[in-house]
Symmetry: C2
């Protein structure tokens, strides 16, 4: 590829990431064709087999702010300031996500997707092609072949192609079949799968449970969660092993399923719309991790979003991370003055290790959500961390906050710092009678000493502020390398 | 699949594993079609792009003994009883592989493959089809479609299909594309790649270096190795990173390559046939790891050998492990009385964790071969282990021997026991002045105490004898679970 300034770009996949990328690149002056295999959901109702709502947080907001769409989307979004833990006995525990009403936001996946597509269509130079299903891709010439509405075929020759076509990316699959191409790849199915259920609104449109919370019923090897929708309903997701002693496969008749809901979710069961019938009728959806290296093939095709780094939903970062891909790429377009021969390698360099880190963090978070969230010692650990973080915000941002509320802190650094924090907290939690003494001054003296010793050697005083909250006192190094 | 006794079986891939499997299953009474994409190497000379010779050891011999081919192959094989380490200054160090002249054997890959194919053809019910390239596979009906000699196509409907088609298995790739099939998969390219070089025989047909050794020039991030051939020559393999500061890519002109050989392999350079020209002319071959789960798809198709578990060659176990797959499968055919509905799940259950273990062990062994083999402290550690193992053969078999010379010990157990041994040896090597005191009685008293404490709790006294050497005193538990 030459370093010419203006290129014609094809983006395969008009999900939230592909549509956002189209907007961003169009605004840099590129001519964009955005291809989507499905019909236009704005004119044809369709269930995409994906989660109905999802959690948008500061990394996502930062990318949406860059295209000026943040306020429009925030108008429809519901802030969730805490986890609401539902114990088996029905008792509730509130766990704030951060400080000062920091929140993650429940948004409609379809809604945000449609708003982004509409905005893309409004950009000069963007053309959106629905019902275009990629069938082949010539990685040398840049020719993309599509099956159009299942009727005809069409070829498009473009100088640059982005695969934004999700976890089971066709672009990626075609790349893997290139002879002689060294592509390391993994796709791992998690033992957990999921189905979605619904808690409706009250007849007056109000919420049946606390609105501004992400509700969790942690049951160790499985869990139910619920996110609020603007219409007063909650979309619930039941995560559980596909196979095994207690699993989607073992619960194979209505009696067992009914007993299961009564035993483990007694408070939710009466609220859910036909949980037993829905459970019996729905095939559980898989959860996968995808790793691939390289992301850029023959200087002509690049992967982005889930196509490059599918993760599990347990950190609420899938879409946020894909949006961050777009934001970083757009910044690199400027930085390298439209020289794609430099932009694409820099893009992979900037994103790969960070996406590997959030894939790992998301995977680990299942245990935190489904098991530890109900564990007293774990909650105590969180309380100590929160208190210490308030005392020394320059020295300690809890891992969840680094990932969720520090949108300029690279994921890889969050992971590395988090591991040192874990070591430190393990030591603190081993103090005798920590349950009684957790508020004692000596606890925080030890924490300060350990943090000084183990963290500041690695974390330089360069600060990361949260660009979404200019007055934020959050500070942490941007330095990437942490000797964890 | 029904549990009927006799089935028609297709085996895709007539490499050593596919051919051995054909012999074994034919002898159990099955009708076998063995398909190979390449022409018959016995009538057409062809370079297969694979290593010319490889190391056969006790797991391989055990499988060959089961079909009575061991003596015929041993007649052409060259025992290698030690590593011969070549330092940069040309000095040599001999590291025995085991006790009492225990050896690994250099065999010709093509030779053993051809002997197995010839034996397969001699079995009643086996038909071998060369130049049949698999193009499609219907996993429900069992129909295999082939491109025949690049001219016509042919379909074969078989009740059971084995994919023995190697690291880049087409059977595996077709399985991955099945809609709705949960297949976890990874293919990882190692940074190292390799080319082959040759040291010829002397004019009288004798060997230019010690015949009964595997020669290694360990240079930390890269290495040269050499295995003897029956004609007096050595086949050498240079393993080195494809990219980086010192790599196949960085050595991009004859001067650099010549300087490289002179600097790092001064004793080998004058023996090698045109090393510089060969280096410049050959494209380095990749090394990959393959993991896939499940190995059995729709009760009808199963993967075996590299198609199921490709590994790097650094433990000399690739073919041995594939042969073990066949031996174990054949034993399960008897055990489950030809009920394939039971055999295939039992096969995966028996093999998967063990193949994962040897993939991991082989990967780790690059460091041992290319770096540690030249390290004085590492050699001391090996000497202490060897001495202790001689004193207490029931308590301690060195890891290399568990993998190589204990053919009935599962790889996964070797890995787990090896990790406990490593902990113990780390402690022993930390003794003050161990370099001076390594022969002192107290060293072995400590070792005995640690081994008693950490190993016997996990390793039951049930013994594993080496069925290839009936008088062997090797004993180690067959118990699979080791709390490592």
């Amino acid at each position: 590829m030459t370093n010419q300034v203006k290129e014609d770009i094809a983006i395969v996949g008009a999900g939230p990431v592909g549509a956002l990328l189209a907007v961003m690149l169009a605004r840099k002056g590129y001519k964009i064709d955005l291809f989507e295999s499905r019909p236009d959901s704005r004119t044809k109702a369709l269930y995409q087999g994906k989660s109905i709502n999802l959690a948008l947080s500061d990394r996502g907001w930062l990318a949406l702010k860059a295209i000026g769409l943040d306020e429009e989307i925030r108008a429809q979004a519901i802030p969730m300031t805490c986890r609401m833990i539902h114990a088996v006995d029905g008792s509730l525990t509130r766990q704030p996500y951060g400080r000062d009403n920091q929140a993650i936001w429940s948004v409609s996946r379809a809604g945000i997707n449609e708003q982004l597509i509409t905005l893309a269509e409004q950009q000069a130079g963007v053309e959106v092609h629905f019902e275009h299903k990629l069938t082949d891709l010539d990685f040398d010439s840049g020719t993309c072949s599509f099956d159009v509405s299942g009727k005809e075929s069409a070829d498009y020759h473009r100088e640059l192609i982005f695969g934004a076509d999700g976890t089971f990316s066709k672009v990626r699959r075609l790349a893997q079949e290139l002879p002689g191409q060294r592509i390391s790849y993994s796709l791992d199915y998690m033992p957990q799968t999921y189905i979605e259920l619904t808690i409706p609104a009250n007849s007056d449109g109000s919420f049946m449970m606390e609105k501004n919370a992400l509700h969790i019923w942690p049951r160790k090897n499985f869990m139910l969660i619920a996110l609020p929708n603007p219409d007063g309903s909650f979309t619930c997701t039941l995560f559980m092993d596909l196979q095994g002693e207690l699993s989607f496969e073992s619960l194979d008749d209505e009696d067992k399923v009914s007993h299961f809901f009564r035993e483990y979710f007694p408070d939710a069961m009466p609220l859910l719309i036909e949980p037993v019938a829905t459970f019996m009728a729905k095939a559980p959806s898989p959860l996968c991790l995808v790793h691939i290296d390289p992301w850029v093939i023959r200087d002509k095709v690049a992967l982005i979003g889930d196509a490059a780094h599918a993760m599990v939903p347990f950190y609420g970062q899938g879409m946020n991370c894909g949006f961050e891909d777009c934001r970083v790429l757009a910044e690199l377009v400027e930085e390298h003055q439209h020289h794609w021969g430099e932009i694409l390698p820099a893009y992979q360099q900037a994103r790969k290790e960070n996406c590997d880190a959030i894939i790992e963090l998301a995977k680990r978070n299942f245990v935190e959500m489904s098991d530890l969230a109900g564990d007293a010692r774990f909650l105590l650990r969180k309380k100590i961390e929160a208190k210490f973080s308030e005392m020394h915000p320059d020295l300690w941002i809890p891992l969840y906050s680094m990932v969720t509320f520090s949108p300029e802190l690279p994921y890889a650094q969050a992971l590395a710092v988090g591991e040192v924090q874990k070591e430190i907290m393990d030591e603190v939690m081993n103090l005798p009678d920590i349950e009684q003494n957790w508020q004692a001054e000596c606890t925080y003296r030890l924490l300060y000493q350990l943090a000084q010793e183990k963290l500041t050697a690695n974390i330089l005083p360069e600060t990361v502020s949260n660009p979404l909250s200019p007055g934020s006192s959050q500070t942490l190094s941007k330095k990437k390398e942490v000797k964890a």
